[in-house]
């Protein structure tokens, strides 16, 4: 545990609960400002590539930030978080293709389905600790991936959901229109981040930090550790599924690769890049990874080597994510200024 983490963990003791409300208003304001800024972006820059980039950031950002609720806040290193990303994409795609319900209904139904699956899988996984937890989540991910591959009549096997995802307009929003899809993705991202921020800053969020730092002590003061872990596992799964839905809308399909372990690996990588001790670390990591990916694949076919070197730089050089580094550096500077 770093000093920074210890500092964070101690915060609720110093901050009286009455102060939580202004902070929530501040978060609402920041969220609104971020949304307005993102919504204005297409008017300033006409580039469709930029819009595509932000849509992908929304999908991966929700996924990576939800993974950080497990990794950074609760100390549950999940190697199988990608299965919920895939479930979201497939659940939504299938619902739209087979039933033709309105998009919001399919959205909610997909989250409901993810909820059920996550409760079942989570109930088994969160009993385990550390490496065992990591591997059982990975095993479930491979199970989901294999099911998608072999259930050809429903999922289309390794060719994915074919024929495109129908996107009928609802409430004046037409998701087959690029701009509408962009605005909707931004809205989902901002709402998702806002909700996750509220979870992280709530007493429940601090309970999670306590479990991360010392589960036995948490248990001794009367916290039901298993229930708290299961709750955050399920909540994180829902946000990951929302990310998967955005991705399914973006590519107008769902492919088994969305539920493969490499997606979970990318999630972990994003967290390493951006840092796990700040809330926005994974979002910064997402932007970094996507910029890296997009530029590196443009310039060389040896993208694997370049990305590997970047990981090494962060893991061995900085020994922390970018946001961790920035926050620490800023803290030092402030400390020096005062001194």
């Amino acid at each position: 545990m770093t000093e920074l983490q210890a500092g964070q963990g101690a915060q609720p003791l110093k901050v009286p609960r009455i102060d939580a409300r202004p902070q929530r208003y501040r978060d609402v304001l920041i969220a609104l400002a971020a949304f307005v800024l993102l919504a204005l972006l297409p008017m300033v820059f006409g580039s469709k590539q930029l819009l595509d980039f932000v849509i992908r950031c929304a999908a991966y950002g929700l996924f990576a930030t939800s993974l950080n609720l497990l990794v950074g806040y609760t100390g549950l290193i999940s190697f199988g978080h990608g299965m919920f990303f895939g479930l979201g994409a497939y659940g939504f795609g299938l619902m739209m293709q087979k039933t033709g319900v309105p998009i919001p209904v399919a959205f909610v139904a997909t989250l409901a389905m993810t909820f059920v699956v996550a409760v079942v899988i989570g109930a088994i996984c969160v009993r385990l600790k550390e490496i065992y937890f990591a591997f059982v989540t990975l095993a479930f991910q491979m199970l989901v991936h294999s099911t998608i591959l072999s259930w050809q009549s429903l999922t289309g096997g390794d060719q994915g959901l074919r024929g495109g995802i129908p996107r009928p307009p609802f409430l004046g929003i037409d998701l087959s229109n690029h701009l509408h899809l962009y605005i909707t993705s931004c809205a989902l991202l901002v709402i998702g981040l806002f909700l996750m921020r509220q979870i992280a800053q709530s007493p429940f969020g601090y309970t999670l930090r306590m479990i991360r730092d010392n589960a036995t002590r948490a248990s001794f003061i009367g916290i039901d550790v298993w229930r708290a872990k299961l709750t955050i596992f399920v909540l994180a799964a829902l946000f990951a599924a929302a990310g998967g839905i955005i991705m399914a809308l973006f590519v107008s399909g769902a492919y088994p690769e969305f539920a493969y372990w490499t997606i979970s690996g990318e999630g972990i990588f994003i967290n390493m890049l951006g840092g796990v001790t700040t809330f926005l670390g994974p979002m910064v990591g997402t932007v970094l990874l996507l910029i890296l990916n997009d530029t590196v694949t443009r310039l060389t076919e040896y993208h694997g080597i370049v990305l590997g070197i970047v990981i090494l730089f962060f893991a061995i050089g900085l020994r922390k994510g970018l946001m961790d580094f920035v926050v620490e550096w800023y803290g030092h500077r402030r400390g020096e200024g005062r001194g």
Binding site: S47, Q49, R56, D158, G160, R162, V251, S252, Y255, T297
Partner: protein, 358 residues
């Protein structure tokens, strides 16, 4: 690229030089979709040549549906990409051989040998994914149709890119089949053959490996056994025409390696584009797509010197397709027996009906 240079040297497409913008999707469908969108939206590409396999090609197909850009698939052999009417869009075409065509021709050829040599007990060994399972299923279906005595006594489904085939090889040897069918391809096929050679498998049964006769496989196998039956992927001696031989030599002279199955498919795609643009004297995607529909062009890889982009499902037909047996040195497959397109069309139509596509 060989063909692109030819077109450019002859004045380009309707007077415009072709500029190739090449991107790598790392085999991920979401990357394929992103890159395809970027190529059209940012790089200003007006035509897409999609060299994606399996799921990637479906992802690019959806981008073509969304953006309306002219797209030619040049790699995916999955029949559903064009046979399934849900997939049909006016601006996308497939310039690729197909699993169903290979299965029909292969089964006809294999049934002839099965009857002549009285091969009744068969085994199969194919990669465990959609292409492997579909192609093997179709081959067995038609083999039994042409030679009803045939019985499948063993099936093996090694994983894609599996490094060790010992268990598969020993399982097949224990079953003692008289013949083996496999649609393993590329590196999987070559490692399989190298490992099966240790057990002298190829002396004990007739082997039908549809993807053997491609230079990428033929030249890599250490000891290519004599007498493996294979479909033609790309062989410069089939079709046995001077045009095909000249094209194969020109390719080798330029790149210092033999062309592959993908080489002729991409070359044919560029030939199609060139002819379609000439026909409408425009590079407008919609006009070119209309011209491509049902277009027949002269082509070194055609069974009768021409190939056609079939109008009703936008897919390539009439390409040279046949089976022969291998020898360990050039020309590797000296005598290829050509398949009959009339039979292919008949059985393909039946197959489409059985799948609910028509």
């Amino acid at each position: 690229m060989l063909e692109v240079e030819k077109v450019n040297a002859a004045g380009g497409l309707a007077g415009r030089q072709i500029e190739m913008v090449i991107r790598d999707s790392k085999g991920q469908p979401q990357e394929a979709a992103r890159i395809a969108r970027e190529l059209v939206n940012t790089d200003g590409c007006e035509m897409l040549l999609d060299g994606e396999a399996s799921s990637g090609s479906f992802a690019v197909h959806e981008v073509a549906r969304d953006l309306g850009v002219l797209c030619i698939h040049t790699c995916s052999e999955a029949s559903s990409l064009t046979a399934d009417p849900k997939q049909h869009i006016p601006n996308a075409f497939r310039c690729v051989r197909q699993g169903i065509h290979d299965s029909i021709v292969g089964a006809g050829y294999a049934a002839g040998i099965a009857k002549a040599k009285s091969l009744k007990k068969w085994a199969t060994c194919s990669p465990d994914y959609a292409y492997g399972r579909d192609t093997t299923g179709e081959f067995v279906l038609y083999l039994k149709k042409f030679a009803p005595d045939v019985e499948i006594i063993s099936e093996s489904w090694p994983k894609l890119f599996q490094p060790d085939y010992t268990e598969v090889v020993t399982k097949i040897l224990q079953a003692k089949p008289q013949a083996l069918y496999s649609c393993l391809w590329g590196g999987d096929l070559t490692s399989y053959i190298d490992q099966a050679n240790i057990y002298a498998m190829f002396n004990q049964m007739e082997v039908f490996a549809v993807n053997m006769a491609d230079y990428t496989a033929l030249t890599v196998v250490k000891n290519l056994p004599k007498g493996i039956h294979s479909g033609d992927r790309y062989i410069k001696t089939f079709p046995p025409t001077p045009e095909n031989a000249a094209w194969g030599d020109a390719y080798r002279a330029k790149y210092n390696e033999y062309p592959t199955n993908w080489s002729w498919q991409n070359a044919t795609a560029v030939m199609f584009l060139n002819e379609a643009v000439k026909k409408v004297n425009s590079t407008d995607g919609k006009k070119v797509a209309e011209a491509l529909t049902g277009l027949t062009i002269k082509c070194p890889f055609g069974a009768d010197g021409t190939v056609t982009m079939r109008a009703d499902d936008h897919t390539l037909v009439g390409y040279a397709i046949g089976w022969g047996t291998t020898i360990p040195q050039e020309p590797y497959v000296p005598d290829v027996k050509a398949g009959d397109w009339k039979t292919i069309f008949e059985l393909e139509a039946e197959w489409k009906k059985s799948k609910g596509y028509t």
